[in-house]
């Protein structure tokens, strides 16, 4: 993580240089966590399409599910504190952070759709319906976000290298 050996902007001359790597990474982390939270709140709680627990869930999948679930909360909180820290040090590139956000959100959506739903079979999107259209929409929307994020990052990086700073 951006470590605390970096003193704050107020004390150090020359602080304020944009930290491209951290900006991107913090966007990715927040994107993952927000998408996971949306999944949890909308599909588990509001729509109740997903089940709390599937009879068929094997115990290894239960363990990985628990780890992922716990990691999401930590990533969300840690990501926002890191974001605030970058802003405070004026080291944040907003474009890169947005690109990272879309990349992370789309990446999580695709991962959730492919690995959690199809490979591990933790739970399905919805029960008692024909699943194929749901899976296609789920994974395709994730892929669109993923590509948009990658494109935005590529554009922001080429602009940065074009005019030197930002």
């Amino acid at each position: 993580m951006a470590d605390s050996s970096l003193p704050s902007a107020r004390t150090v001359p020359g602080a304020g240089a944009v930290d491209a790597r951290s900006s991107t990474l913090v966007g990715v982390l927040i994107g993952i966590a927000i998408m996971a939270a949306v999944d949890e709140i909308v599909f588990h709680q509001l729509l109740a399409w997903h089940h709390f627990y599937d009879r068929s869930t094997p115990s290894v999948a239960l363990l990985s599910d628990g780890l992922l679930h716990a990691a999401e909360v930590i990533i969300l909180v840690g990501g926002f504190f890191w974001f605030a820290d970058l802003r405070r040090r004026r080291a944040l590139s907003t474009r890169l952070a947005w690109g990272g956000f879309l990349l992370g959100a789309g990446g999580f959506q695709v991962f959730d759709g492919v690995v959690d739903h199809k490979v591990l079979r933790l739970h399905q999107i919805r029960y008692g319906v024909h699943l194929l259209p749901y899976d296609v929409v789920w994974i395709a929307s994730g892929a669109v976000l993923l590509l948009a994020g990658a494109g935005l990052l590529w554009w922001a990086r080429s602009r940065r290298s074009g005019d030197g700073r930002r």
């Binding site: 605390s4 970096l6 003193p7 716990a70 909360v73 930590i74």
Partner: protein
């Protein structure tokens, strides 16, 4: 809030828990003692710390008072566990009672506390991993063994378990994010890892209990699987809330890290993590020494 307590032994040998408000006494003592100490602090005690401590005490009181008076119900027990073991300890830890003690106690007491804080056994006990094992592991022991059934029958064991919840939860919250001096506290990565492990263990345990509500916890005579399933869901989402709050407290200590209070170093050290850790433990010992001498400025940076 008085609840009609079922007649004693209605639940086949269940403890005769008449209107026992006795467990509330220590909570009242904790709150009053803290308030007296805060009022005596010559440098003025931060009101936010007092508020955090009182919230912690209030949560303890809710768990031991109204919830303790309810008839036997897994959901009530689970709510008690969440309050006693996870939410109340965070409030108590944020109240920084050891710092307050070091400020108002006479020098001999301060020396004892300082020596205690430097003791190797305490560093081992208050390591985030040990604390996580004690708190989440202890809960697993209760739910997966006949301990739960035994605690329903024996009042003393019941109270001992509650005490364990509070103590282990306090230890865990302190080891992660406590503003009190904690020499040799491990770095951010270890603490985040311990929080991840404890929260994941808690979530897995909740779903495991949900899945095996017919047989878990073992040894019960009259069981209601549906009630245990909703207790497991309460445990799962309550655990999320506790994890969220702990994570906020933990990362807030990182965000408010003390570098800004020190004169800036001219060079960036080549190995940031190591130097960070050593300065941190150095700071902790310095803190203890500082507390031994009165008339110093406020040293609690975390909010």
């Amino acid at each position: 809030m008085t609840v009609a307590v079922p007649p004693a032994f209605a639940h086949g040998g269940h403890v005769a828990d008449g209107p026992s408000w006795f467990p509330l006494l220590p909570v009242v003592l904790l709150a009053v003692g803290y308030l007296l100490a805060a009022a005596r602090d010559p440098r003025g005690w931060d009101h936010r710390r007092t508020a955090a401590w009182l919230v912690g005490c209030a949560l303890l009181a809710v768990a031991l008072g109204p919830l303790g008076q309810l008839p036997d119900d897994p959901r009530g027990h689970m709510a008690q566990h969440l309050l006693l073991g996870m939410l109340a300890p965070l409030g108590l830890v944020l109240g920084a009672p050891v710092t307050l003690l070091l400020r108002v106690a006479p020098p001999p007491v301060r020396r004892v506390v300082g020596r205690l804080l430097r003791a190797r056994a305490l560093h081992l006990l208050a390591h985030p991993v040990t604390a996580a094992l004690l708190s989440t592991g202890g809960l697993a022991l209760v739910l997966l063994t006949p301990l739960y059934a035994a605690a329903e029958r024996h009042t003393a064991l019941h109270h001992a378990l509650h005490l364990h919840y509070v103590a282990a939860g306090y230890l865990f919250a302190w080891s992660l994010a406590g503003p009190d001096p904690a020499p040799r506290r491990p770095g951010l990565a270890v603490r985040v890892g311990a929080l991840l492990g404890a929260a994941a263990g808690h979530a897995v345990l909740a779903k495991y209990l949900y899945a095996h509500a017919e047989t878990l916890p073992p040894g019960l005579t009259d069981r209601d699987p549906a009630a245990f399933q909703s207790a497991a869901q309460l445990m799962y989402y309550g655990g999320d809330l506790a994890e969220l709050l702990l994570a906020v407290a933990l990362f807030a200590t990182w965000y408010n890290r003390p570098n800004r209070l020190r004169p800036p170093r001219s060079t960036r050290s080549p190995r940031p993590t190591r130097s960070h850790r050593s300065t941190r433990s150095h700071r902790s010992t310095r803190l203890i020494k500082k507390f031994a001498s009165p008339g110093n400025d406020s040293l609690t940076q975390t909010s």
